[in-house]
């Protein structure tokens, strides 16, 4: 016989303002099977919970219905309270009188009637509830970090320092990311590589970190604590164990004119190359698309000069399978190129460059050894113009958002230019100045007040080239939109920050959500910035949205702590709201007929086959079996099953049917 307790919450005034809670409790108290019914102001508070616990103990309740807010709010709270009082937590259900009733209706008779209905149907359902036990799954305490920029490096170090193993993969030949391309960082004007390379070396030497560069994620299976990843280690064409990084091969390689990706196309590299001198690992890779041996079958100079015989021309890509418990995605971002701008020349003017290209010019290890020179003729520009918001905040071009970092790096670039070219004149065309971080506003004021950068508020309508100069047609909106025309020697566009190449494919491989701009989606924009909607997969850095270095580092540490928290337990508990195929006594064994429609229906590949054998080992029948570790309780298989042999625990056919019938007052 059921002995159900009904607890109606006022939720302060949230529910009681439109629903007559006392009446609901009174009506419920008269139902068959209800042994106790009460209303109270704050059910989730300590006294409220104690009310439930003491009722369970004193009245020997077999089920509990809490009529209050949404289960998403307090289901764990009330279930925990029941468990503490000795009642199986899955015998506790919640009737949502708040989001489903009081918050969406006016105060009237009908609202209270609806509340009464909601309570009644759950009372009837709970009569059919079964005790369920949580499922425990083991946790593999190895993390995978995808992306070796500053965010990936920070996350790897943080996780490794908690004592857990990390596999860090990076698709470029070296880790470092965009931060390694920068010359100085704002607001301190620290040398970027000087602060980054110690961390890169730490990663390479850390006993808990296994670093694979020139590697990408091939596929991912599994679930939190129990992922299986396949990693493609692209062939570097060298034997890393034999290579000493001496650099003979790169010096002697005859193919020298390939535009260098690290230098954003402003410098050249060889076919066998190390991206930059401080690369980690400091071992070269062969760019097979441009190597003479792979194109024509000739050359092999690198093989000849290599003192340790480390060149392996026929090396193939390797697929490695690893078992991991959590993943941190730190794949970063990229920027739009000048060809995106029809009014700025469609990318055909070599002296109209991007911010990253300017970084390479300013960098002491760059193609011009730190001197700001025009790519077209190598002269030092006397007049330079910086354009903010090139592409960002521009719905007509499809990028309505702000790229966040440009206002700061333009100020930095203008300052660097003024420091390097004494007597040079710089102009910044801006719409707003977004300098919200610590010391950021002071940094921008330095550029304007101390370094004499001319800030003009207005945008540039077009740029064209004449007699080797770039004519910039802008406007000063603070002077009644007076036209401002500048004959510049160089123009730097602060182009929009966008999702990295391959972001969409990666997101689909990992089953995580992403937004229309292909930035990965966080679970909650305010309160869960480092988690995704997929349990066990976390985000760090600019792959989620454009951001600067301190934020990327903070986010990476945040993601690392989430991973460490996950790994602090040996087992993960999962809710037992999963599908189960029924088993019955012989000779039926199960009403499942083995059509396996559910196997193809399941989006998580969680259903397999089970063979039922007799004592001689002969197979009597094959039926479906759900893997409790993989099942997510979505219910698709239940809808597909033609014999009603599969059911979701906690939401069985019986329970759901009873709810519906109770609503129709037919039971």
């Amino acid at each position: 016989m059921s002995k159900i307790g009904v607890f109606v919450c006022h939720c302060g005034e949230n529910i009681s303002a439109t629903v007559d809670c006392a009446k609901v409790a009174e009506t419920a108290g008269n139902y068959d099977g209800v042994a106790f019914s009460v209303d109270y102001k704050y059910m989730c508070s300590d006294p409220g919970q104690n009310l439930i616990k003491s009722a369970i103990k004193e009245k020997g309740l077999t089920g509990v219905v809490v009529a209050s807010c949404s289960p998403r709010m307090h289901e764990p709270t009330f279930r925990k309270a029941c468990a503490e009082a000795g009642l199986n937590p899955f015998m506790c259900e919640m009737a949502n009188l708040r989001e489903h009733c009081s918050w969406v209706h006016e105060k009237c008779e009908a609202t209270t009637e609806k509340a009464i209905d909601l309570v009644r149907i759950l009372v009837e359902k709970v009569k059919y509830n079964h005790s369920l036990n949580e499922i425990k799954v083991p946790v593999t305490k190895t993390a995978l970090v995808i992306g070796g920029g500053i965010a990936g490096i920070q996350a790897s170090l943080d996780i490794a320092n908690t004592g857990h193993k990390v596999i860090l993969i990076e698709r470029d030949p070296s880790i470092g990311g965009h931060m390694s391309q920068l010359s100085e960082t704002f607001p301190t004007l620290d040398c970027s590589q000087c602060i980054l390379t110690p961390r890169m070396v730490e990663v390479a030497q850390h006993p808990n970190i296994t670093l694979y560069t020139y590697a990408e994620l091939e596929s991912l299976e599994g679930f939190i604590g129990n992922f299986k990843a396949k990693i493609r280690r692209k062939s570097k064409s060298i034997d890393e164990k034999l290579c000493t990084g001496c650099g003979q091969c790169t010096t002697k390689c005859p193919v020298k004119k390939i535009p260098s990706e690290f230098n954003e196309g402003l410098g050249k590299r060889t076919a066998i190359y190390v991206p930059f001198p401080q690369a980690v690992p400091n071992k070269p890779v062969i760019d097979r698309k441009n190597c003479t041996y792979y194109i024509k079958g000739k050359c092999k100079v690198c093989e000849i000069v290599c003192p340790t015989g480390a060149i392996r021309f026929d090396q193939e890509d390797q697929i490695m399978e690893v078992e991991i418990g959590a993943i941190v995605i730190a794949t970063g971002f990229t920027i739009k190129q000048p060809d995106f701008f029809p009014e700025y020349g469609y990318g055909k003017y070599p002296d109209v460059i991007t911010g990253l290209q300017f970084e390479r010019l300013a960098s002491a290890s760059g193609p011009t050894l730190g001197e700001i020179r025009r790519p077209s003729d190598g002269k030092i520009p006397e007049k330079i113009v910086f354009l903010a918001c090139a592409g960002s905040r521009d719905p007509a071009k499809g990028i309505p958002y702000c790229s966040k970092i440009c206002c700061m790096y333009i100020a930095k670039h203008a300052m660097l230019y003024q420091h390097k070219v004494h007597g040079g004149k710089s102009y910044v065309f801006y719409m707003d100045i977004r300098a919200g971080g610590k010391q950021y506003e002071e940094f921008v004021r330095r550029a304007i007040e101390d370094d004499g950068v001319n800030y003009v508020r207005g945008r540039v309508s077009r740029i064209y080239e004449k007699n080797g100069k770039l004519i910039v047609n802008g406007v000063d909106t603070l002077l009644n939109a007076m036209p401002v025309e500048i004959e510049a020697d160089m123009v730097v566009l602060a182009t929009a920050g966008i999702a990295n190449d391959g972001a969409e494919e990666l997101a689909q491989k990992m089953h995580i959500s992403y937004d229309p701009y292909k930035f990965f989606a966080e679970a909650h924009p305010k309160l869960k910035p480092v988690e995704t909607n997929t349990a066990g997969i976390f985000l760090a850095g600019a792959c989620q949205a454009p951001r600067d270095i301190p934020e990327s580092v903070a986010m990476a540490s945040g993601a690392a702590v989430k991973v460490a928290g996950l790994f602090s337990q040996d087992e993960l508990t999962r809710e037992p709201i999963i599908a189960v195929v029924n088993r019955q006594a012989p000779p039926v064994y199960s009403s499942c007929v083995g059509c396996f429609l559910c196997v193809s229906a399941c989006p998580y590949q969680a259903i397999g086959k089970e063979e039922i054998k007799n004592r001689n080992g002969e197979v009597i029948k094959s039926i479906a079996k759900v893997n409790p570790g993989l099942c997510q309780g979505c219910g698709t298989c239940v809808a597909f099953c033609r014999t009603k042999s599969i059911d979701i625990q906690g939401y069985t056919h019986e329970e759901m049917y009873t709810e519906v019938m109770a609503l129709l007052n037919e039971y």
């Binding site: 009014e343 918001c389 905040r393 521009d394 719905p395 007509a396 071009k397 719409m431 508020r457 207005g458 945008r459 540039v460 309508s461 077009r462 047609n473 802008g474 406007v475 000063d476 909106t477 009644n480 939109a481 036209p483 401002v484």
Partner: protein, 174 residues
Amino acid sequence: MLEHTEVKVTHCYQCGKCSAGCPLSEEMDYPPSVIMRMLQTGDPVLEEKVLRSFTIWVCLTCEMCFARCPMSIDIPKMMDFLREKSLNEKKANPKAKEIVAFHKSFLDSIKYTGRLYEIGLFVDYKTRTLKIFDDLALAPKMMKRGKLNIIPELIKDRSGMASIFRKSNKKNKN
């Protein structure tokens, strides 16, 4: 007020790209982005200034502003609307006398003949503006090259044309 034209002034964030690209902005009293700001405020005093401005008449409707605007605001359409309103409320800027006169002469010419009669246009324009000597030397040069028709070309359905003009003007008087 600009819902007639679907132009949403609230979208303008005053970047100034329109004014930067406008070929005539240096001849305007209020460049296009300033006109936008004046309309954004909703201040009737500023709206009055807009209707009385020289800007709206010297605007060529070259569509350059619309092509470059990051918010895709149809400024040329807005200018057309402002011009019509300015005329109906008799607020056309006196500096724009010649420009308005030219448009009026143009429309008068085609109202009667259906197709532009250049000599008729010029005569009408000069009587409105009294700029008799401008371009006078041009006429014989054009005639020598066969570019000036002495006799106007008349279409057959002139009453149809007149009726089109009548019906559209009726709406305007309201």
